[in-house]
């Protein structure tokens, strides 16, 4: 048993999407606890439900079955606005396609989410500088995404995910658009982020990246193939 606090806890969670051709069961009876400081990698074939699980863990969506607790509070009982607030302040997202705003500089992309969270300007400036230096882009702060490489864009996206000091960072195929060497560099950065105390859950096809995690989970047909306990190193 771990003495660490659970950040997110799924118990028998299921997700069914209503479709014109009939309901599609994307997740079935998934149980998973992510504790503070965890470094979790979830792998599996396309369409097995990895991203759906990530979206549930990140309060982007709500389960249709089972219970999901975020920092001890049931997600299904939360309204849309409350889940937005939690995502803004307690969760960081890293996407496969980066989704940096193309008209904003690296600095502005990182500062934007802090501004939305109501962080004072002076604190924002200090935090943005600190984060861009942390991801190795201290010299590229004024560059637009179009002036950055894929790896650099993903670094900015990681800085953005960390901007509001979240308890949990979720990454969906973060190396999916990068070559192996750049993927390795991003993996190194994730290692450092986790070593510095941030909880990480990464969904990936990249076996090398998954191998860096301390817990490796496999998914198949909407189920976790190995129990969380077995997957612990």
């Amino acid at each position: 048993m771990s003495a660490k606090a659970a950040i997110v806890e799924a118990r028998g969670v299921g997700k069914v999407y209503p479709m014109p051709a009939g309901p599609v069961e994307a997740l079935r009876d998934v149980s998973l606890t992510v504790e503070a400081g965890d470094y979790v990698a979830i792998s599996g074939p396309s369409g097995c439900g990895k991203s759906t699980l990530l979206h549930l863990l990140g309060c982007v969506d709500t389960p249709t079955a089972g219970s999901l607790l975020f920092e001890g509070r049931p997600v299904r009982a939360m309204g849309e606005e409350e889940r937005s607030r939690i995502r803004l302040r307690r969760i960081g997202f890293v996407f496969q396609r980066f989704y940096l705003l193309p008209m904003l500089t690296a600095w502005e992309n990182v500062e934007l989410v802090q501004s939305e969270a109501g962080m004072p300007a002076a604190e924002r400036r200090a935090r943005t500088r600190e984060l861009l230096e942390y991801v190795g882009l201290g010299q590229r702060v004024g560059h637009l995404p179009s002036q950055l490489s894929g790896g650099e864009m993903q670094r900015v996206a990681i800085a953005r995910a960390l901007a509001n000091r979240p308890g949990l960072v979720l990454a969906d195929e973060p190396t999916g658009e990068l070559d192996d060497e750049t993927g390795e560099q991003i993996g190194d950065l994730f290692d450092r982020v986790n070593a510095d105390g941030t909880t990480l859950v990464i969904v990936t096809h990249n076996l090398a990246l998954a191998a860096r995690a301390r817990r490796r989970l496999a998914m198949r047909s909407g189920r976790l193939a190995a129990s969380p306990a077995m997957a612990r190193p």
Partner: protein, 394 residues
């Protein structure tokens, strides 16, 4: 970063599209602005003309327009009777006639002649020379002529005008050159005293008036003056300026109101269609980005505000440019419409009032809100997880 700042940066991603949008709103907005000016322009301009005479009540024998129906009989006694009403400050009888003068090439040309008393208020504006005097030095009563007549006949103060419509031709001495409020472009016009009018039209009935111009006492006002006249002389028809304008609004000028309403409605529709299309296309092109922002914790409210701000920038930018563009367009259209025959040269179809600017502003705000409604709903209700999954697959 405020929604307005964010919206500005968003629009800057596609500067050509944003510029085209602003230009489109400016052009359609200019048309709308012109229609606002046209809807009341004639009425406002006509009121200015009526008020410039210094008389606020008109009295005629029938409901027909002055000069178009029977004249007021026993004009001197009627003038005297009305002048005694305490609500009235002044009553001036006016006669209208048309004579001819010899023109170049052996032809004759019509001259509209107004017979009145010596100038009391703003019956005309003296430009050169002296005003009418009541005498008839050398058997030639005084005459004031407008600039067109003076120019075409080479007249100046002291010149003699000989009417060709009477036998023998009656002569007048030009005392000055004036501008009449209701003179039409190119119209030859002259003013004489009532004695001079009889001199010009010896066969016309004496002691008649086509119109009585009445000035109310300031403490009574035109409405009280009209009531007093109707009470004293129920056989006459008295109209305040407001009543004259109301009648014109529902009759002669209603055509322009209807045209302006139809064109303003079409312009509004196109503005909404243009901005809604631009914003909807813009949102559809960045669904993944919107979903990502929502996943990052941006609220529906914030996303809605961003789109409202984008709409406000497009409509606001175009709307501001629409004002000078509309004024320029109005000037051109006004000069075309004023070429219609027999219109007073000082009458304008497009008149700018503060009310037009206020209505234009109100329309812009409303247009920005309505145009942003559909794309804002689209963006705010976007299913985040499904959109991210779809974008990822695509």
């Amino acid at each position: 970063m405020s929604p307005l700042h964010f919206a500005g940066r968003s629009l800057s991603r596609q500067p050509a599209r944003a510029l085209l949008g602003v230009i489109g709103v400016a052009v359609v907005g200019a048309l709308l602005f012109d229609m606002l000016m046209l809807s009341r322009g004639l009425i406002v301009s006509f009121r200015d003309l009526l008020e410039s005479t210094g008389f606020d009540v008109r009295v005629t024998a029938t409901e027909a327009l002055p000069g178009m129906g029977p004249a007021v009989a026993e004009a001197a006694a009627t003038t005297e009777e009305l002048s005694r009403l305490p609500e009235l400050a002044m009553v001036v009888p006016v006669r209208f006639g048309a004579a001819t003068v010899a023109a170049r090439g052996g032809r004759t040309h019509e001259v509209a002649i107004i017979g009145s008393q010596t100038r009391r208020r703003g019956e005309w504006r003296l430009l050169e020379g002296a005003d009418l005097a009541d005498g008839a030095a050398g058997g030639r009563p005084d005459m004031v002529v407008n600039r067109t007549l003076a120019r075409e006949q080479g007249l100046a103060s002291g010149s003699i005008v000989r009417l060709a419509s009477t036998l023998p031709g009656r002569e007048f001495r030009v005392s000055g050159i004036v501008e009449f409020p209701f003179e039409a472009t190119g119209e030859w016009m002259a003013g004489v005293t009532l004695r001079g009018f009889t001199h010009a039209f010896p066969t016309a009935r004496r002691d008649e008036a086509d119109l009585l111009l009445v000035a109310s006492r300031p403490e009574a006002g035109p409405d009280a003056a009209v009531v007093a006249i109707r009470r004293a002389r129920p056989d006459l028809h008295a109209f305040s300026i407001d009543e004259v304008l109301e009648r014109l609004r529902h009759a002669e000028f209603s055509y322009f109101r209807q045209v302006s309403f139809v064109l303003a409605t079409i312009a509004s529709f196109f503005t909404l269609l243009l901005v809604t299309t631009l914003l909807t296309v813009s949102v559809n092109q960045r669904l993944g980005e919107v979903a990502a922002l929502r996943a990052l914790g941006f609220s529906r409210r914030r996303i809605t505000l961003d789109l409202l701000a984008e709409s406000a920038l497009l409509v606001g930018g175009g709307g501001i440019a629409a004002v000078p563009l509309g004024l320029l367009l109005a000037r051109g259209l006004d000069s075309i419409l004023r070429q219609m025959p027999d219109l007073p040269s000082r009458l304008h179809f497009f008149v700018l009032e503060p009310r037009d600017l206020a209505l234009h502003l109100a329309f812009l705000v409303l247009a920005a809100l309505i145009a942003a409604a559909y794309p804002a709903i689209l963006a705010a209700r976007l299913p985040i997880a499904a959109t991210l999954r779809r974008e990822s697959i695509s």
